[in-house]
Amino acid sequence: MTLKQLSIFLENRGGTLVRVLDLLSQAGIQIIASSVADTQDYGIYRVLCDDPQKAYDILRESAINVQLSDVIAISIDDTPGSAARAVKALSDAGVGIRYLYSFLWKGRGVLAFRADSGDRACEVISTAGITCLTSF
């Protein structure tokens, strides 16, 4: 019930993001969602895309520090309060969230996140009857 996510190490200096985006674009990769947090020296650029394995291979060939990891992406109604309900279910069950980003996909909201315990998070989601995205 997870999605493959690219995590890319980006130094905080000019041109590093452009380089990654150029490589992905040349390979015809479609980015669905992405996020980068502000940090002092470097950041981690997280990407959900249509072909994560291909994107990973391309970036590795170009000697970019990249990791392919599993992330949980839950589908919620695009209405006020939906995110709150989903996160509350996790919070009530004592599941912590390390990072989270959200986007719209085919008219629905998506919360992509990393939980401190992935297994426990999946359990909670199943029990609560929340839908997960497993592909685009």
């Binding site: 980006l10 130094e11 470097y42 520090n65 990791q67 390390r98």
Partner: protein, 445 residues
Amino acid sequence: MENEGIKRDYGCEYFNPEVETLSRGEIEALQLKRLRETVQHCMNSAFYRSRFEEAGLTPDDIRTLDDLRKIPFTTKQDLRDTYPFGTASVPLEKCVRLHSSSGTTGNPTVILHTDRDLDEWANQVARNLWMVGLRPTDVFQNSSGYGMFTGGLGFQYGAEKLGMLTVPAAAGNSLRQIKFIKDFGTTAVHAVPSYLTRLKEVMDQEGVDPRRDTKLRIFAIGAEPHSEEQRRRIEEMFGVKAYNSFGMSEMCGPGVGFECKEQNGLHFWEDYYIVEIVDPETLEPVPDGEIGELVLTTLRREAMPLLRYRTRDLTRVLGRSCPCGRNHVRIDRMRGRSDDMMVLKGVNIFPIQIEKILMQFPELASNYLITLTTDNNGDNMTVEVELEELFTDDYVGLQNLAKSVQRALKDEILLTPYVKLVAKGSLPQSEGKAVRVVDKRSVYK
């Protein structure tokens, strides 16, 4: 340590008037006499005996000062190879003190002292401090690290011999330093220059004006490279005269060379040392005024005399006379190193030490870059290192790695560098020998 200064004429500019004012001819005659004694004495050391045999030399071959050049150089590596006591020229029972280098690459270098060595060492320091105007009426605060670092005990004994009230304040704890300076009426401080800048910052924070609230008038600074501009800045900040000091544990410690009131080069005491400046590649002497590697021969050391010791410090001869009346050679401030050793806050560090630690982390690639900078708090080291694999998708994981690397480096080099993780391939790759160190400190401008 006997207070010798109290017996002397405070109006006299010299602590050892006879030797300090020797003419060049007299200096050289004394040097030849002492060189021959030293070479003879070196034959008590297994190391020098075999060195002389290999070179087909006997002590009798040294008849003039120029004959010194027949003697092979001694290197830091020789001291490591004979660790700990292999170069000693006296039995251990005659030794009363041991100092050791701060470096932790391979064997450290061990330096032994007899009681006479300690007395002669203290005499050199006392001579230096008297030369810049300190007298038994002064209060001397030694804000230098004690322990194995010779800047602590070296200045302590010298200042006591001069007869000053000497405060072994040691390094750090700025608030306490300032309290001592005010309460004890400290007139002179010995410290590394970067620390004095830090001390002034704390004084500012505490509302202490050194001109108004203290009796400070003289600083002895050394043990880390600094520029003329840095010295002038320190002098202006405090309203104090700052004198450059040179020493190295292999020779004894501080005391080897010191600026006089002219502040135009450091007088190296030629009754204690023979100074050579050689081309670090050809090892041939360079003319006065040209930069080369400083090579020193001890003339009075008993426990561990060293012949033609390659210091790896780059400098030049400025002159052999001085308006102060001393004809002991004047040597320029150190201009760099002929090896890759870095000196930070008085600690000697080789890039290989850093490399060794970095290689212990499988997450890191082999490419790294050390950058040295100066800010108001003194010298800083930044270590940039490339990531081999992105092993986490989590910022905290990267921060933890950087912290672990920083801790491991601190255990090795005794200083805390700033560790910056960088992307693979982002550091400059050079052909052949990689550039591992960029020194942006003002002294190397």
